[in-house]
């Protein structure tokens, strides 16, 4: 018992340090191998990535491939539409927090149209009508508030992230009304089913991308780190309404 409490204290302390460095790092310009990216834990991150890769190759990737094999594209689209629709409260909330009223309006219109006319969200009729999905999360919200990336981290199982995005992920998870509802009514199976199908559905969508990065990079770690940052930057910029093309500076 005492040991447990001490462990908790230890991890809490560890994360206090981590979080404080988030604030410090946000203003510092100390960059490493990739000129844009602050990655002081590179060695730890590389090890975590290796472990994640082993797990992915043993479990996730085969499951995602199996899912693709048994489910036709049309069915997979229905499933990913449905899961995406379930995530709407988070999207709407974050649009509001970012002060993006138009985005919040679009996301609200989407969930109404797709839930009512799209058979509970399995059809994305809103997108066909021109209101397309815009991914939002609390990490992006923090970024629009001016919080820097902190530093790059590879989370066990979750994969590439930053201190900011990892914190954002937690906030999103614990404020998700559907998650709260399901846990309040003790429907843990449904909750896990949702999480599980999200993982498989997303992994299936990334089969080619990951395969490509694995096959065509010499340093997979560096390639995936760069791709993660660029993609996040483009998502963050979208919500500001500005363009998203990385600059092409030559040396």
């Amino acid at each position: 018992m005492v040991f447990k409490i001490q462990m908790k204290r230890f991890t809490a302390g560890l994360f206090t340090i981590a979080m404080s460095s988030l604030l410090v790092v946000a203003c510092s310009a100390n960059k490493s191998t990739d000129s844009e990216i602050y990655d002081p834990l590179e060695n730890v991150n590389r090890t975590t990535l290796k472990v994640n890769e082993a797990i992915d190759k043993a479990v996730l990737e085969p499951v995602a491939k199996g899912y693709r094999f048994v489910t036709p594209q049309a069915g997979r689209t229905l499933i990913s539409n449905f899961l995406r629709n379930l995530n709407s409260p988070t999207v709407i909330g974050n649009e509001l927090l970012q002060g993006d009223l138009e985005g919040a309006g679009n996301a609200t219109a989407r969930v109404i149209i797709n839930t009512l006319a799209g058979f509970g969200g399995i059809l994305d009729l809103a997108a066909e009508g021109g209101i397309e999905h815009q991914p939002e999360d609390f990490g992006q919200t923090l970024a629009t508030w001016g919080v820097g990336d902190g530093m790059y981290v590879v989370l066990p199982l979750f994969g590439p992230s930053t201190l900011r995005d990892a914190s954002g992920r937690l906030v999103d998870r614990y404020t998700d009304p559907l998650r709260m509802y399901l846990s309040n009514i003790d429907e843990d199976e449904l909750r896990y089913a949702r999480i599980g199908s999200e993982i498989i559905s997303q992994r299936e969508g990334l089969l080619e991308v990951i395969n490509d990065l694995r096959r065509n990079s010499f340093d997979y770690y560096a390639a995936i780190r760069s791709a993660y940052y660029q993609n996040r930057q483009s998502l963050i910029n979208d919500s500001n309404g500005s363009a998203t093309i990385p600059s092409y500076d030559e040396f």
């Binding site: 594209q73 991914p135 969508g205 096959r215 996040r232 998502l235 990385p246 040396f251």
Partner: protein, 218 residues
């Protein structure tokens, strides 16, 4: 302040370390989230129009050999090389990918690198010809970027499933022809990712360009 901090960080640590059973996303969550809507201010200049039709033509050319079932793999490879030569500025792309290390390379290394780079690109894409499933390209808009470049936006539309947003960085060279110098898929620049990869290899190899060349020769 400190207490709040500890509480917050404690929550974080509990969620990240003690309850890792709830896995919410795949290894690369959001790396390729489909369909982000991007509204560029349309810059419909004369150059923009030309660049758009250049990308459209290039896309149709690619589709025509990819979808041609009577072509053998090696014939497709020949067509692909032709397309690379006519539509891509491979030298600029290759130089960009090496970044600041380009200058430290000897002339001999540079020449070998340019050759190996093209070979790498061809072999990477040749492997993927049979992944073509009837996708179409839909050029949507263009805008100027800096004084030299035009970004042409497009969607790659599969016969089923979500479309993918692809932007093309196009540069007009001195003879007035357009060439692609970067492909940006869902906000991820292929050139920039390549450069991160290469520079990490070189840096971890002690700053020696030869280390990268050794990888490329394999």
């Amino acid at each position: 302040m400190n207490k709040v901090f500890i509480k917050f960080s404690f929550l974080l640590s509990v969620a990240l370390i003690i309850v890792p059973t709830e896995i919410e996303a795949s290894a690369v969550n959001g790396l390729l989230d489909k369909n982000p809507t991007i509204n560029y201010n349309l810059v419909v200049t004369d150059n923009g129009q030309k660049a758009q039709s250049f990308i459209d033509n290039m896309g149709q050319q690619a589709i025509s050999f990819l979808s041609n079932k009577s072509l053998s793999q090696s014939q497709k490879e020949r067509e692909f090389r032709k397309l690379l030569k006519s539509s891509f500025d491979m030298k600029t792309i290759a130089r960009f990918a090496m970044g600041r290390h380009w200058k430290t390379a000897s002339a001999k290394q540079q020449a070998e690198y340019l050759q190996l780079f093209e070979k790498m690109v061809v072999s990477a894409y040749t492997e993927r010809f049979n992944e073509y499933r009837g996708e179409n390209i839909d050029v949507t808009s263009s805008r100027a970027d800096g004084s030299r470049d035009i970004i042409v936006s497009s969607n790659i539309v599969p016969s089923a499933g979500s479309k993918i947003k692809v932007d093309w960085r196009v540069r007009k060279n001195k003879s007035g022809t357009y060439k692609i110098i970067d492909v940006i898929i869902e906000g991820v620049s292929m050139s920039l990712t390549q450069r991160s990869d290469f520079s990490s290899v070189i840096q971890r190899g002690g700053g020696d360009v030869e280390v990268l060349l050794r990888h490329l020769r394999k």
